[in-house]
Subunit: 336 residues, 2 copies
């Protein structure tokens, strides 16, 4: 255990002041090349690694990027989360850590946000996040909100256009001849659920198609909730010819329920999901779905955050609603 090699250790060995060591290690032009080289070699040999706490204290930055999710164990699909973290980590400059946390966790523990971060990336699902987003914004540090449209114009914000994605889905169903259309909604407090539900209602209204209350049920975005929701529909009398599920996980659960109750998908009941999850293409039947533009959203967000942190920010605050796309596979049957 090489006990605490600091710049002073190196300074002594190199017969220079610790100031010079600091400058050399930070590649300051003020230090002679020869000296720099010596010091660097020494640092390498001693396995020196700077004390980030000290550096952070004096530089007023922490080398930490906070990544907040609405909740870590529900609502946010695991594959979304892991892809997100991977992408963030890859795009971040070396030396930065990502601190993962959730607003739901803070709420449960009655805590406030941690103030030690240089920039925050919020993957928001619910307007209940707003109080925390506000706390983050008040720090004056760079904050970028992803995934959900927020009602403030002082923060960069990139989201997927859930409304238009749902319109695309429902219009596709109509084109395929469906008129009896049901919906399995997601968590009621999630903006995405609300937007998708609103779009669903609007499109059917626009086409003068009656809404059947029995065919409109609510889940919580989990596979199991999709299963339960579908059971309700299956037990309610007349059946719809197709279901729009607010996400792929619930669609899969619901299709499972159809199978258990002896209904063939898509012959008797068709399904459209939402997300474009990794499993959707391998499910039986392969799921027709609306693919969320995750990569684009994350990419945009991280570029912006990096710029903000490095003060390379010239662009004004921007909001972008990125359009998802329809992926046609096997779970929707064309009917006359």
């Amino acid at each position: 255990m090489n006990d605490k090699v600091t710049i002073k250790t190196i300074a002594k060995m190199a017969n220079v002041s610790h100031t010079t060591v600091s400058r050399a290690l930070n590649n300051s032009p003020l230090v002679k090349e020869k000296t720099k080289k010596e010091i660097r070699e020494l640092a390498e040999r001693l396995n020196y690694s700077p004390n980030l706490n000290a550096k952070a204290l004096v530089e007023h930055r922490s080398f930490i990027i906070a990544v907040y999710f609405t909740d870590l164990n529900s609502g946010t699909s695991p594959s979304f989360m892991s892809e997100m973290l991977h992408q963030i980590k890859e795009m971040l400059p070396a030396g930065y850590e990502i601190a993962v946390d959730s607003f739901a966790g803070l709420r449960r523990a009655n805590q406030s946000i941690n103030l030690r971060f240089d920039g925050a990336l919020v993957v928001s699902q619910s307007s209940s996040d707003d109080v925390y987003i506000d706390q983050l914004a008040k720090t004056g540090k760079p904050v970028v909100v992803l995934n959900r449209e927020i009602e403030r114009d002082d923060l960069f914000n990139y989201a997927s256009d859930d409304y238009s994605g749902t319109v695309t889905a429902i219009e596709y169903l109509l084109r395929m001849g469906h008129k009896k259309i049901g919906i399995i909604s997601g968590k009621e407090e999630f903006a995405s659920s609300q937007n998708r539900l609103n779009a669903f209602v609007d499109v059917l209204n626009k086409h003068n198609i009656n809404l059947n209350d029995n065919w409109m049920v609510t889940g919580d975005y989990s596979v199991k909730s999709g299963y339960n929701a579908m059971e309700k529909i299956l037990n309610a009398g007349e059946l719809p010819t197709c279901i729009f599920a607010s996400n792929d996980d619930m669609a899969m659960g619901a299709i499972r329920a159809c199978q258990d109750y002896g209904f063939n998908v898509p012959d008797q009941i068709s399904f459209v999901g939402f997300d474009g999850s990794a499993y959707s293409n391998y499910f039986i039947p392969r799921l027709t779905t609306i693919k969320k533009p995750m990569r684009e959203i994350t990419n945009k967000g991280l570029k912006t955050l990096n710029n903000l942190i490095n003060n390379k920010n010239i662009t004004p605050i921007e909001f972008m609603n990125i359009k998802p796309s329809l992926v046609v596979r096997e779970s929707v049957k064309k009917i006359n």
Copy 2:
């Protein structure tokens, strides 16, 4: 923006020294209750929040728990990862951050481990992690390795017993009358793949059942790789009556392939998976699988790490291989 409220700000306002403020805020018994109360109220009112960098510098700890995965975008199943992070976050004392990182990321960027952490939790899949685990161990700080059995006895280590789990699976298949058994292995460099493959071979040998090379293929734990692997088996001539897939994701991909090639599962080909993933119970057919004891592993690991960090450690270093359990569902058919 309340610019930098420090203990000195509070000290001045309360007409005490900053030391007293520090003590009061840390609930030292040396401070009079009345003074404490005043100071606390003042802190609250001023929205004071301690500078963790300063605190970390002087206390020689950082309030950061490092969580390392082998890779963030492959090998580690997303649902495993998100459940893990959730559990970790819930069990951690308030004020701690979790810094998520991956060894694969470090390798790609040619970086070393970050030294700013009070304890590290390693979710290891591969022996290629060992070089980094060694770096972590050398810091002398608490390190707990999860998920994979490591070949050193100076670190706490909790893993799932992949070998025995696979034995259970294969013996179940034999009991169900199967003799023509194939395997789809996971990433070759992953210990879990090797252990599962070894157990597979050993059990069949023990029962004097021939190994058929055509029925032994390798994937990479992804759904897609399961699909591709199964295609190979399907195209290779005589078919096995069942397949042991090294994880659920590959099983699902493989079943998808069977479906596409017109084979019924489980009537023509049976399947056993491994993991007990969230989707396995909703797949069609519901997947019979070996459930990894994730929760137990994570729980054990975190308790130990917490104890280690708080020096409550009396137990000697321990290694535990926790046994997984068979979950019988619908993907295995009994044959005469």
